[in-house]
């Protein structure tokens, strides 16, 4: 993967397959402590302890089309090559949380990339709500698709609404950190 936002959309797809209805995404950048922390929390079906132990193994997957599952493994290696690590917590029936840490100034850290496109892609799934928190040092921005749905109704697939959301997120991120990471 070339961008953190592409890892994100991959993990979000896992949540969607797990029948999640609310996915909370967080990106936290601290330039003083020099880290970036990415969290994805869902209320999907979760995993039992046995599956959880094996979840980062590339040869473990729940999909039926082939025997390898690279999503979490790729994300973990992206973290580890930047002096970071990846943690997965899950409770059967409750949901799953993925936490990724990277050293922010590491030369191999992937750029954050196009977050708004990732959120738009996620919102195209039916019955999925996304909360996105973006924090850069002391400044932060939150997007909550439930607020949008309160105004325009449950169907966000209208192109004009999607465009609005896209620009709204892009502008706000730009305001916080200049969007250059």
């Amino acid at each position: 993967m070339r961008e953190i936002s592409l890892h994100l959309i991959d993990i979000i797809q896992n949540s969607v397959s797990a029948k999640a209805t609310l996915i909370v995404i967080g990106i936290e950048i601290d330039t003083i402590e020099d880290y970036i922390k990415i969290t994805i929390t869902d209320d999907g079906c979760g995993m039992d302890d046995d599956t959880l132990k094996k979840v980062k193994d590339p040869f473990v997957t729940s999909r039926k089309t082939r025997r390898v599952g690279l999503g979490l493994s790729l994300f973990e290696s992206a973290c580890e090559r930047c002096d970071g690590y990846l943690e997965v917590y899950s409770k059967k029936g409750k949901g799953t949380e993925v936490i990724a840490y990277m050293k922010f100034s590491h030369i191999d850290r992937e750029p954050i990339g196009n977050i708004q496109d990732t959120i738009i892609s996620a919102l195209l799934n039916d019955n999925v709500n996304i909360v996105y928190n973006h924090r850069y040092n002391e400044k932060s921005f939150e997007f909550d698709s439930r607020q949008i749905k309160d105004i325009v109704g449950d169907d966000l697939s209208n192109p004009e609404i999607l465009d609005w959301i896209k620009e709204y997120i892009a502008e706000n991120i730009q305001n916080i950190d200049g969007g250059a990471f």
Partner: protein
């Protein structure tokens, strides 16, 4: 700067369009968005399809995502299912190719032959190119 008031205006304007979409005569455009698809560039493909659908003002089209279709080496994969017709699988997509598919296949019903997955004797011939008729 975007404001919430704008959203309200969009809602009023598009209310009718949204209601029309509940019937089942819509064309479905399916984009493979598993790890393999995303790594190969499925996100720009998905977004350019949305863009083109908007640009051409196509109302009876739903753009949806799916998981791994099973031929990862041919990703990004886009499937077009028009009502009453057979599914057409397009392979090795990019943003520009995807636009052509929306404009020619989805809007006008003409299948874009160069990008279709061709299976010959049970094998996928993925470097297929159209030969000119002599």
């Amino acid at each position: 700067m975007k404001s919430i008031q704008e959203l309200e205006a969009i809602r009023k304007k598009t209310m009718d369009n949204v209601n029309q979409r509940t019937d089942r005569t819509t064309t479905r455009i399916v984009v493979g968005m598993a790890t393999c698809g995303i790594a190969a560039g499925a996100r720009p493909v998905l977004l350019s399809i949305l863009d083109e659908v908007k640009k051409l003002g196509l109302n009876d089209v739903s753009v949806v995502q799916t998981g791994c279709i099973g031929v990862c080496r041919l990703e990004p994969i886009v499937e077009v299912i028009r009502p009453g017709e057979e599914k057409v699988t397009y392979i090795k997509m990019d943003a520009e190719k995807a636009k052509r598919i929306v404009a020619e296949h989805v809007a006008e019903g003409k299948i874009v032959d160069e990008y279709v997955m061709h299976v010959v004797d049970g094998k996928v011939v993925n470097d297929y190119t159209v030969q000119r008729d002599l």
